[in-house]
Symmetry: C2
Amino acid sequence: MHCGPIRMWLSCGSPFPCGCHRQCRCWMVVWRGGLVPDLLPSKEGKGLTRCFLLQIVDILLHYIKKTFDVKSKILDFHHPHQLLEGLDGFNLELSDLPESLEQLLVDCTDTLKYGVKTGHPRYFNQLSSGLDVIGLAGEWLTATANTNMFTYEIAPVFTVMETVLLKKMYGIIGWREIEADGIFSPGGSISNLYGILVARYKRYPEIKTKGMAALPCIVLFVSEHGHYSVKKAAAILGIGIDNVIEVKCDERGKMIPAELEKNILQAKRKGQTPFCVSATAGSTVYGAFDPLHDIANICEKHKLWMHVDAAWGGGLLLSRNYSYKLSGIERANSVTWNPHKLMGVPLQCSAILIREKGLLEACNQMQAGYLFQPDKFYNVDFDTGDKTIQCGRHVDVFKLWLMWKAKGTCGFEAEINRYMELAKYFYKVLKKKDNFKLVFDAEPEFTNVCFWYFPPRLNLIPEGFERDQELQKIAPKIKAQMIVEGTAMISYQPCGDKVNFFRMVFSNPATRQTDVDYLIDEIERIGKDL
Amino acid sequence: MHCGPIRMWLSCGSPFPCGCHRQCRCWMVVWRGGLVPDLLPSKEGKGLTRCFLLQIVDILLHYIKKTFDVKSKILDFHHPHQLLEGLDGFNLELSDLPESLEQLLVDCTDTLKYGVKTGHPRYFNQLSSGLDVIGLAGEWLTATANTNMFTYEIAPVFTVMETVLLKKMYGIIGWREIEADGIFSPGGSISNLYGILVARYKRYPEIKTKGMAALPCIVLFVSEHGHYSVKKAAAILGIGIDNVIEVKCDERGKMIPAELEKNILQAKRKGQTPFCVSATAGSTVYGAFDPLHDIANICEKHKLWMHVDAAWGGGLLLSRNYSYKLSGIERANSVTWNPHKLMGVPLQCSAILIREKGLLEACNQMQAGYLFQPDKFYNVDFDTGDKTIQCGRHVDVFKLWLMWKAKGTCGFEAEINRYMELAKYFYKVLKKKDNFKLVFDAEPEFTNVCFWYFPPRLNLIPEGFERDQELQKIAPKIKAQMIVEGTAMISYQPCGDKVNFFRMVFSNPATRQTDVDYLIDEIERIGKDL
């Protein structure tokens, strides 16, 4: 590999001991005592470090350009065994001896080459998609600062930024700063776990010392369309999945309040002790919003903790047009909100917000003497690390802060409104197409649009079990072909009595209407002969 | 702010619509519908994106250079209220309207300016320190790829890399690949939680569905010097802190096997059910290694799960000179190992390793239909996301993989051996100094060296309570002064009956012997008149 365009060399601006102008010589790193000797912190390493990192950046910039190029493939698919066996000099095995910097650059290129461009305009595969350039810059800076959120001492700016962001989020939910608390966590599942953990602690503070043995049989409620992480949390917390009661939903996937109340009363009759309801604001598959006011009324009546999993839907609070869909969230006791989903922040960025100051700390603190010394010379209220279930904690706030600076609240709002419009457009186009069938024949609630594609031959089979058996295979086949060709990525799943259907979702800032049209054509192209 | 050195502009190599040569004009971003209009994915955004990201990189490269410059300050300390109120145009508040790109660059510069240079040669504050340039490049790439570890589908290279790294780690521990399993998690505390979670599930698989109500009163054991995350995990898991039994240590902080056995028998007599021992390989403060073979013998005898928290000490396995200190780890059922500590990988990077295939998945899987479709066209064994307690999971493996390629196992070994030598050197120098007193008058076990500094006036006070009262205040005062001057950072804490002492620790690749000498002089300089 050559050292890249000459302008990159010039931009390094540093004379190498080995002479940069003689090209690749400086990359011929010699094995000396196990270190790559010429990068920093080596005394002589400044020039090579700069040059190496600029080469990396060149690879990344090239990748970014391709990511946003609608004509480039989203991925160059290979099977796991192919990657394991090694592809064209891309060997994943690790050895005792070092590789050259030159080889590392090739490895970086290959890592991206065989990966998935999650920022591609036609990547619709997950609730988190897109690549925000400002957020990306934030991540690069975060990586370079390489610090840890546990104390103000070593992360002064980031810990204070976290409080600023949390305050902003409380305000948007409709909470007063004085009553609210929160923390950023490694993802929505962990945030949901926090919600239930704190709910349990609030009701039974003795849980922390004595464990579940001191408690009655506690149960919690979540809709049948709620995220699986609620059950996962119950398993981890020692509550048990059997004690998560699934509440029935209406046909659009919203929890039915009357069913919730029925379930609560049933549980009480059985001698179980309800303590928490986890409502959903933006369900994963249907994008449904539970009726939060009705649920809040029931929670108040039965004195239950109300958690709202707004991991996906939380961002909608930023839209003056659509925030009404989360009306009632201000009455929740805790809220999960993932800026890495609808707000497009790079992975990962998730917050758990609690409407009671001090509870998070009381629940989790262990006062480790080696970290949280009380005799520090600054205000140790900013040593927030003892609120968490972690010790070390990655800095997930800076990218969000920088994006908020770059876009303003209005910028997020405009983008989110655009996704909602795209979802409506997609729905309208599909409605007119004979070979597509919408899971719900009504305007989308959120940016999720669920649908089946029917190849012509399936229209000849009468509705019923046999046709469903065939239909079940269609989405996986279409998706497999899309992946092999690298043209688009979209999710599918079965749900309840519904066989495999596609879930389109809009959260990718690169997506334009033409990409939506393309996807429809692509499904028809691949699917018509299946 | 001007657009930076002209060579940077040349390196952009892209003609701007607004004309790059006319300088700053292209930064005057106009508010149009809430978006920063000229960055990607805007059609016209390629040039500005490249230029903006190169400007960011220029800021980061400047920071990296300063980080490694021993003459630069580690930090420019300000109190939390000062940051909150805003400093010289650095305003953390978020508004409805966007800032210009120009302002964002200033904000990035300020964020670094008021932060802590954790890679500085004289930063000794945490077990994780230093800034590895290759690891950093890995993080930049990870951020750019911006994907999620839950499925092979969207993270093909990274999920396979994870299996390659885990395999390597099993081998180093001494496990056969066929029997072992593991996953990377968000930090050592979560990894320890995994160990205990899986231990509980192995003994009582009904926990997952029925919760703790179906179990007897289970108890686990950890040394009094074990990490606080073991207790935290017990609180979260619903076991309760009271059911974590602290085992006495010898004077160096190693668990006493006879005490462990005594505690186990006592618990059984009380009707409690021991199920797990968490041994420590490299304790946080003293750097102590529990006697793993003795503990393994006891675990085998009493049929207890043996977890080893080698978050800090795990890296020592890579040193042929010192790996004997972890002898017996191969007999553990689970191991926590944080490459972000001794191995110098950027934060965060932690693995939980389990010596039983399938257990992690059985314990945690929920088979969410929308993610883990069984009808995919590739080998879904690589969809490892259902093993975790998370859903989305940050890519923490690439930086480690890239560093391993760059250094080889031998490179890690050489670096770790150097830290051990530095610790010995530090110990020897302190031993000769009258005003320093070592907590242990023997060669360091690990790279931790604990010591007090006695200002001359304290030598006039006879040993005892009064002197201890004074000594307790010395380390915080010295540290506060170091922080204010930005000259060095080192941790202190009290421990048991010992008043505040410094904990020196070596894990920073930039540290040289001269920095060690400097630290000693600095403590004397600040402390002599206290």
